[in-house]
């Protein structure tokens, strides 16, 4: 794999939801305005537009609730055990999916990345399988499993295996051959090299893969819940919508958004820790 190939693939990270990316920090991070300031400004701007739309009746009242109203309702529903149960359901499906993806994708990625033959022969299969849109399989899963957690897992697990698998493969293949030869010449065995050289070297890539998978798992889990009415945050949104409770729809949507945000923040932080030694970040600390 060439460097340019990796960079190009890294461009499309979230769009395809399963494209490999270089470690996050490999992207330029220089900014004139401190990140928190610009981010707060962006959120404030969105809220202002939202309030203006709601206040000036640009959209009918039944379709658009006010921002203050929606946040107030969110605070209210957070006091109910019902919404906490839903959050628990969603987080359970999310964490099972992520754990399974980790257990499958990282070892498999190490193996495929180390073996040229295995990589070459599996490359087409991987590229083909990962282009199957996860959401397109939801009706099938609903048909087979009904409104159950299995339906969520069967969709979410494959969806988050791909980015993690590809990131692991790329990380392994990017291991410095001189480092591997050094370990070999000092008599480290196959498994020691895998565990002490290849894995640590690939870890920044794997951390990026975990972050991508964690976000995808959250998005897809809530989508399946919403479409198949599997108990969880997604089904709360769907039910509110069916009952015509506009403010609730907004409140639960905000809740889903905050769950996603929490995942992003948590895993970006984890990634930054793992990556500290990587050439792309050394100077920026």
């Amino acid at each position: 794999m060439t460097v340019s190939e990796r960079v190009v693939e890294g461009r499309a990270v979230m769009s395809g939801a399963s494209q490999p990316a270089p470690p996050a920090a490999a992207r330029p991070t220089r900014r004139a305005v401190p990140a928190p300031v610009s981010q707060v400004a962006a959120v404030a701007a969105i809220l202002a537009v939202w309030s203006w739309l709601a206040a000036t009746d640009q959209v009918s009242d039944s379709a658009l609730a006010g921002s203050v109203e929606s946040f107030a309702r969110l605070a209210e529903v957070l006091g109910t055990s019902e919404s906490w149960a839903a959050i628990g359901q969603t987080l359970t499906a999310w964490s099972i999916s992520l754990a399974v993806a980790l257990a499958v994708a990282v070892p498999l990625g190490l193996l495929l990345g180390r073996s040229m033959l295995a990589y070459r022969s599996s490359r087409f299969t991987i590229d083909f399988l990962r282009t199957i849109p996860a959401l397109g399989l939801i009706p099938l899963a609903a048909l087979v499993y009904g409104a159950s957690r299995e339906a969520v897992l069967i969709i979410v697990i494959p969806a988050c295996i791909w980015p993690l698998l590809l990131q692991t493969i790329y990380g392994v293949r990017d291991t410095d051959p001189v480092a591997i030869e050094t370990a070999r010449s000092y008599g480290l065995g196959r498994w020691s090299i895998l565990g002490r050289v290849v894995l640590p070297s690939a870890l920044p890539y794997i951390a990026t893969g975990i972050r991508l998978s964690a976000i995808i798992a959250m998005l897809v889990a809530i989508s399946v819940e919403l479409l198949v009415l599997v108990p969880g945050v997604g089904s709360l949104i769907a039910v509110a919508q069916r009952n015509g409770e506009t403010v609730d729809v907004y409140a639960y949507t905000l809740l889903a958004g905050f769950l996603g945000l929490a995942v992003v923040l948590l895993f970006s932080r984890l990634e930054r820790r793992v990556i500290a030694w990587h050439p792309s970040v050394r100077g920026h600390r």
Binding site: V178, T182, S185, Y186, S192, W277
Partner: protein, 269 residues
Amino acid sequence: MNQSPPVSAVRIAGLQQTFVVDGVSRHVLDGIDLEIRTGETVCVVGHSGTGKSTLLRCVAGLHRPSGGEVAVAGRAVAGPPEGLAVVFQDYGRSLMPWLRIRENVTLPLRRTLSRQDRNARATEALAAVGLEGVERLYPWQVSGGMQQRVAIARALAYRPQVLLMDEPFASVDAQTRSDLEDLVVRIAAESGLTLMVVTHDIDEAVYLGNRVVVLAGKPARIAADLEVDLPSGRDQLTTKADPEFLRLRGEVMSLIRRETASIAERVSA
């Protein structure tokens, strides 16, 4: 320990190396024969690109030659031989950036020593190459010359029987370089270490070596294999002023210059 008959530490016989890149084959090494006795220091000199590193990699078992045989301590080399260490030309890349300097030095010792012993060895080896108080830094936090010394310290801490060094002092200043040369000479003398050192520096080759091997030609052959007949207690000032030193240095230089001239002829032809 001395019961077994003296075997040569390294034996290279009829070594051939051809690389094929994009269907074009390039003959790099052509019938290299070289025997290094136990405890001997052999310096390999030659132009850039003649195949010195390739030769070293074949001895290290990192590379399967196209033809011929390599044996280390009497055993045919099929993979990295036991008791052999390499200081790579790419010293920076041979240090693991995610490990602190101490962990880098102790990495090869994990199989055999307790953590305490490993750390003691690391501290000792680092001190020997003039590095103190850097154990907790990462390799990329120290200069290139310091990284090179860390790589040397790692090899020393391993206490190999055979040590292969590929331009090990290329990135250090002149004073540190002489210090490290003396250190290597001393360790080789004290521990009976067999050394094979690739270098560009003819003075260094004559100063360090019991023998200087000149690699030349395309494909490369051994153009000369010179015994260095200098007293074993070497000293930067007196040894380098010794008439024998100067004679050898001149001889190696003219061998290499002849090579340069023939290259120039070929280029102009």
